[in-house]
Amino acid sequence: MVDPASGLDAKRDVLLRDGKIAAVEHPGQIRAADAEVFDAKELVVAPGLVDIHVHLREPGQGYKETIATGTAAAAAGGFSSVCAMPNTVPVNDTPETTRWMQAPERGASARVFPIGAATRGSMGEALTDYAALKEAGAIAVTDDGKPILADEIMLEALRTAAALDLPVIQHAEDTRQTGGCSMNAGALAFRLGLRGMTVEAESSLVERDLNLLKQVKRGHLHVAHLSTKKALDAVRAARRSGLHVTCEVTPHHFALTEERVRLYDTNAKMNPPLRAESDRAAMMEGLLDGTVDAIATDHAPHAAHEKEQEFERAPNGVTGLETALGLAISILHVRHKMPLAGVLGLLSSRPAQALGLECGTLALGAAGDVVVFDPEEKWVFRAADSRSKSKNTPFDGWEMQGRVRLTVSEGRVVFKA
């Protein structure tokens, strides 16, 4: 058993009862005659994984994904909890939509923590009702994909959210600099005849947000899917100066570079774009040195017909729920020798802490979220076998190490291999 939150890394049995962790004991100590038993010999038992950045597409775009299919993919990937972005149709900017997403009728296989829109319709003009959104279950606010550009609105969002103890998540992209762009700026973009997003389009907005954060007492900024060294350095420096800033990195940004776009593969098109090798290496460094709080997938399903378009016309985004653990173990643990507890922390306790979620730990009384996986098993990911409704992944056919055997969410078995 590996529980990054408590530092536990030893042989243990765990008992789940009424959706909670009821006991964690030395092997053979738990007596529960009527319990369903899962033998995890030779396997790792860890807190159910937590993905703080997914797009479940409901309401409104059920042809790409539904809450049921998206969370089924989450469960298959070892995630017991996911945070759902508000760029649905309509935008999740009301308590009604927030509640709708959490209703039992959605058939979710993992806990869904909705993230509310930071401004009405994510238009960046007028704040939504943060108190009402929080009351309905929203755990943060953001206009993900449509970053808040106006200084005064961002400042107001940080202030209002701080008073309610909510993080403000920003997709850091100065969209005034990125119109018509479809990949990372640089020689490759030039060669391919594609307009490029500069590093500065990301870092300048992060720097702007950090400056605004200084003006807000107890404010909390969470930077979504960081992709550039320059922005990461800004976060590192800000944290050192005492600001409450957290950040996440996606598996594709530590596993791939812009070279993957070659021949205009729309499954390598996402926002922020895949970057140069130096930026990829910086993401790796940030994960290893602790600057990065979380691995988050930015799972962004799109229908085949949407991705089978000219590169510049295809929508941004790739799926990621079923490949995150395998990539993290293969790259961070196997290749870069990060202790398994560290890798699991980036996928459970630390993202949960970053957004203040009550999960990601195997402590007594915590939510009964558990993942069991074989850390040694090598397997090949096949997009066609994905539980997600969409198959837009850059990792089709990749061999990875670390395979999920069982996922439990609030005491319910939601995936079993």
């Binding site: 119109g179 640089g186 030039f190 060669r191 391919l192 005849g193 594609l194 021949l263 017909h305 000219e310």
Partner: protein, 305 residues
Amino acid sequence: MDFSVAEVRQILLAADALEGEDPLRRMKRLAKRRVALLFYEASTRTRTSFELAAKALGADTTLVSSLSSSIEKGESLKDTGITLKALGAECIILRSPYSGAPYLLAQATGLPVLNAGDGMGEHPSQALLDLRTILHLRGMRASAIGEKCLCGVTLAICGDILHSRVARSNALLLPRLGAKVILCGPEELLPEAATGMGPGISIERDFEAALRQSNVVMMLRIQAERLAGLRIDLDEYRSRYQANDERIAASAPKAPILHPGPIIRGMEITSEVADGQQSAIAAQVANGVPIRMALVARALKGGKR
């Protein structure tokens, strides 16, 4: 530019052979084979020369353009390709405003796709006909093509490099044959990243300096349709980058002047230069047909599908 040097040589040799062949004999090469021209952007030279090339080989051609087809109703490139294939097209010649579109069409249809210009991406047939033009100007034959055949040639490409697929294809092809390519234009139209495309490419911001260093000059128009909000001071641009008699006489008095067209007289080039002794613009256009004959014949070789 996916061709190897050996393939480039073969294409130019085939262009010579086809050009010299008896027209009636040539007509039998692709008799009644079906070639579709799928054009999502306006074109005069490329479209006409591809069409004349296919017809000169005896193929049946059909033109589908965005303004008179179901493309207007929202049909995707994939579905348009599948439709053309179902109608018997064995090869599709594609012009698209989107970079990389030929890869998508080839993947969707399994047919050979000839790139007649894709967005800001590439225009390979133009680079090949430019190569043929340069070889002829230097009194060289296609059989001479090799990795060093253009040693001593320095081509200055001047103007809107950023939006130019012609610049990209030439800058990718010619250095592989030993030529040097100097790109020239203002920062907004020529980012520093351009030199990272490949070897043998450098940037010279000063037009006169670029002219003095080169022995072939290619002028490009400003692609107003792709500026995407970018504002260019046209008076300043003209004063710094226009190819006019005075400049050419002072800095490149012997260099042939190329231009892929369409030319905007009075903007990047004056009438005196476009129509002058050094202009090779008409030769470029004329070279389009034999090059495209070779490309169409190559795409359809191996018999009927």
